[in-house]
Symmetry: none
Subunit: 486 residues, 2 copies
């Protein structure tokens, strides 16, 4: 056994334990009995302690020191690059802080859910303050004198800075606002009306996820409060939700999570349980979920197919034809909820969170002032007020579970999806015909080859640049939105 | 922090990780996608490696050495007793033997399942021989010059010997055979006939589990191929199964597993995630599941209530009255399968396995002669032949996964249940009226106080003796069976 082999055998066990911890998270959102939360927090903390100990084990440093990077092939070099990067980051965070964060995340999530249900921001703020305190502590440890927010962002989107994100967002904001005002100023179709049986929604969701390439032999679809995808390799599970009057929520959440899950499922088997065996960054992950959901799933061609599927499932549901259906799927509306926002306004929601969380981490905004800041900013950006906390500060789970620096990756994903879709259309002139026939295999096959199969082999921006043939920028996304909505 | 505090904090994390591993097992039997098995095996092995390393960590020995046992209160002393016992047992088994046993168990279980499906004993014997070789090696390491079988039995039922079990079984056998022959010699009612909707079975099962005190806020009921209970403390899950023509399978499996789960759920909260926070032995665990299932669930009084519940759920299902229903629930029949046996014959199945496995471990019976010995003994005890290996040597999973010394705990559980039921009847003269009204709270409350809440505080026999007011013996069980069936 060489040092590389020893390190990889060790790493493989750590990856396996990471999958276990992830599955525990899935269980918590789907299956866990309500009264088990307190014990689960201890179980999660114990897993995190084991993982933290393994990830900071001095033997990793010894092995890394014995490996001659120049002797490595491409895959080996990428594995070592990721292991070294994580090792150095993990060494910086003290074990008791990592444990405290894991324990608090589980507790705070429960508090958040209760607070959201009872519209009680006051009940939430104490755990949120504690979370911010721990996250700033973690950021200080990671930043090593650098920018605190960048240190957190780097965990989700390596090699991107808050300043770079701000530059992209600043370029996008006026264009999106102008487009939003233009569309909202003209006639919009009426939204769907009526009740849609929830079991039928789930049946259609299951069919759509398979159509988009989700492999049920290595996954499963359940309901959860907040849709998500969980796991890597041979066990990648997704969740969705249903609302009787809003079947699009269920169906497009499912397609979105299918994008995440297909990415994980399509990584080359040789990378299973290695550092390359997971999506390379949240931004790239989101590029897959968003291109599945929007550029493909909400296209004129595919909505034509979906219109037929919905008539088969629900009978006549009061929509006259494909064209009207397409316009309903893509209608812009006033609304407070990020996850329900249309393609044009979605990024405006993200920008609001990005600016606020960057200020909080920088110490420029207190948690106690966060709701007021949120509400003021929302009214400024959207032109109407937040009517209740569950439509404002309490709407997202992220901050409660410690995901600070995470939000901008949603919009980076949209930017990447714009780049990839431009390249996909060039590569497959027959794309529209395929989508109109409900045949996603060409599009998802191209994404599998161009992006998904590589796992963590390339750096995020390099991967997108190579796949799309251009350096990532907001241009293609804005052009796509202008063409579709303008 | 004293050495005791340090040790208990360490132990608490190990207990939490043990719960995680258990929950992974639950997931595997209920939720896991079919194609995930290979990855799951690596995940489980990684968890086991973590747990084994923690359980043999030299720091445990250091802490134990620093603790003055005489300074400890009752709870502290019991914790230290259990930790010391496990630590010493774990240290005696060489790491490579423990690893070889774990690896073989997983391989042998697959071989057993295939052999059972194809009725091929020959394909099974090589792994079984290997397993016996390793188990005798493990027993030698554990026995430290003492009896090999006792060393294995001690893992499941501490402080009980093969000789003591043999004495009890020898006293029971002729009484059970005589009772069986008497009942089988007289007229038996016809079994249930017809189809019973499986969703309705599950609804009734859910109702029954709550009736017997299962707390759904800290548990859940799902379907699995083999019913089981899993987990301790605040998250104790049970499974059952359904067969359209045999609702008793679903309902009584549920009540049985509820007995196991209620035991775990009712342990005093102060013992959560400590060595005392789990049922104290397999025999005592089985005493709870069996008393719930049989002495309570199959009583004349409770079956009267259940008859009404079944009529409510399924309408008229062809049984005339409560008395006939009671006799159907408790009918004796010929059969080869232990898990399907009635209360009278069940222990005869266990005794057969006990005598055979004791001889094998003692080196008096070769694995190659095991099938012949099984078949001869079965015909002697039951009066008819084993017709195929899946009804004989291949029917149980236990020996393939290394559970040697486990079988007798099933019958010890029945013996303990007999003692407890005698005491319960004395303590609650109104018991029959309560059961007839479907009110289990008096009986399960008594068991909670007398047995369950104490967790691992007392030694198994001491616990049963204290709860039942007499040294455990087979007498009360035999008297109960004679009265009910004779």
């Amino acid at each position: 056994m060489t040092a590389y082999d020893d390190l990889m055998a060790y790493q493989r066990q750590t990856e396996a334990l990471g999958q276990v911890a992830g599955r525990l998270g899935w269980d918590q959102e789907t299956m866990m009995p309500e009264g088990a939360a307190e014990q689960r927090a201890e179980e999660m903390a114990a897993m995190e302690a084991v993982l933290h100990a393994r990830r900071t084990d001095g033997r990793i440093g010894d092995w890394l020191g014995q490996i001659d990077d120049k002797s490595l092939g491409e895959v080996e070099a990428a594995n070592i690059r990721l292991i070294r990067r994580d090792y150095e980051r993990n060494l910086r965070v003290p074990g008791d802080l990592a444990e405290a964060l894991a324990g608090l995340a589980s507790r705070a999530q429960r508090t958040w859910a209760q607070a959201r249900a009872s519209e009680d921001v006051g009940a939430y703020l104490p755990v949120l303050e504690e979370m911010v305190r721990l996250k700033r502590e973690q950021a200080s440890a990671l930043a090593d004198g650098g920018d605190l927010y960048d240190a957190l962002l780097d965990d989700f989107e390596p090699k991107t800075s808050g300043a770079e994100v701000a530059r992209i967002f600043d370029a996008m904001r006026p264009r999106l606002v102008a487009l939003r005002d233009k569309v909202m100023g003209s006639a919009q179709p009426a939204p769907l009306d009526g009740e849609f049986d929830e079991q039928k929604q789930m049946r259609l969701a299951r069919k759509l996820s398979k159509l988009f390439g989700y492999d049920m032999r290595h996954g499963r679809l359940d309901k959860a409060v907040h849709p998500f995808s969980s796991g890597s390799g041979l066990d990648v599970r997704i969740t969705t939700r249903t609302a009787p009057r809003d079947p699009f929520n269920c169906l497009y959440s499912t397609i979105h999570e299918t994008g995440h899950a297909a990415y994980e499922q399509n990584i080359a088997p040789e990378h299973l349980l290695t550092p390359l065996g997971q999506g390379v960054s949240l931004g790239v992950h989101e590029s897959q979920s968003r291109i599945y959901e929007n550029q493909l799933g909400r296209s004129r061609a595919f909505t034509g197919y979906l219109f037929g599927q919905m008539k088969d499932a629900f009978g006549d549901f009061g929509v006259a034809d494909e064209e009207t259906f397409f316009r309903i799927v893509n209608r812009l509306d006033k609304g407070h909820i990020r996850t329900e926002a249309d393609e044009v306004q979605y990024n405006l929601h993200v920008m609001l969170r990005f600016d606020l969380e960057r200020d909080v981490i920088a110490g420029k905004l207190e948690v106690t002032d966060l709701e007021e800041a949120w509400n003021a900013r929302f009214e400024k950006d959207f032109g109407y007020a937040v009517d209740k906390p569950s439509n404002g500060l309490l709407q997202d789970v992220h901050w409660s579970v410690g995901l600070w620096g995470y939000f901008p990756t949603y919009s980076l994903g949209n930017v990447y999806a714009g780049c990839l879709f431009e390249a996909l259309k060039l590569a497959r002139p027959q794309l529209e015909d395929e989508l109109a026939a409900g045949d996603l295999s060409g599009a998802t096959g191209w994404l599998r080859e161009a992006v998904q199969m590589h796992g963590g082999l390339m750096k995020p921006r390099d991967l997108i640049a190579r796949a799309s043939g251009q350096a990532p920028s907001e241009g293609p996304l804005l052009a796509y939105l202008d063409e579709k909505f303008g």
